[in-house]
Amino acid sequence: MVKPKPTRVTNQIRTLRFAEDEMTQARLAELIGVTRQTVIAIEQGRYSPSLEMAFQIARVFRVGLEDVFQYPEEAP
């Protein structure tokens, strides 16, 4: 089967969760209204959330969008 195109979007959700009093994936999922499996998939870069969900995640941690998600420059 064809491998899905990997995303270049990276994220700091794991770091932010630990900084937020070791928030569990289940708690973050509850706060943004998704399943824990979806939080795991986002953290591992296996799913790119919608812009709205990305803003919801950033709001949970009270940081800007680019503090949660990064899109590194492509190497020349």
């Binding site: 089967m1 491998k3 899905p4 195109k5 990997p6 995303t7 209204g33 998704v34 399943t35 499996q37 979806t38 998939a41 591992q44 870069g45 296996r46 799913y47 790119s48 959330p49 919608s50 969900m53």
Partner: protein, 142 residues
């Protein structure tokens, strides 16, 4: 494992088991003559009916045995479901087109019914396989 991934597995396994049972029943009755004259209608109806009942029962089972809140569906589940439907629907169309051409060509009802059934089975199996791959390997909706 997400409940929707479990449901995709159920769909794939039930579709394969149902179709394998159907083939065994029909080929078991075949007397070596023209295959199109073999009795197939009751086997087709029973195996489709049994597959539908088995899928419903297994879906209920995974829903009631899952942890609390495990039946929640979110945006990712809906996107992956649409992706699986998109893959699976192609085979329904292929089956329907093949059946149309067979009907226009005057082929026996046996072949027309079987190509439609095969199209449904391929749709269920490959649509489910696409959903399972999306859950396991990753899914980027863009």
């Amino acid at each position: 494992m997400a409940i929707e991934e479990k449901r995709a597995w159920i769909m794939a396994v039930v579709a394969v088991a149902g179709y394998a049972s159907y083939l065994l029943l029909v080929l078991g009755r075949w007397d070596g003559g023209a295959l199109a004259e073999a009795r197939y209608a009751d086997a087709l109806l029973w195996t489709v009916g049994a597959a539908v009942v088995a899928a419903i029962a297994l879906n209920i089972l995974v829903a009631v045995t899952g942890e609390p809140g495990s039946t929640l569906r979110d945006q990712r589940d809906r996107e992956i479901e649409r992706f699986g439907d998109h893959v699976g629907n192609a085979f329904v169309v292929i089956g329907a087109l093949a059946a149309l051409l067979m009907a226009l060509g005057g082929l026996a009802h046996f072949w027309i019914a079987n190509v439609i059934y095969l199209g449904f089975v391929l749709s269920a199996v490959l649509g489910s396989a696409a959903r399972i791959a999306a859950y396991r390997e990753g899914f980027q909706p863009w």
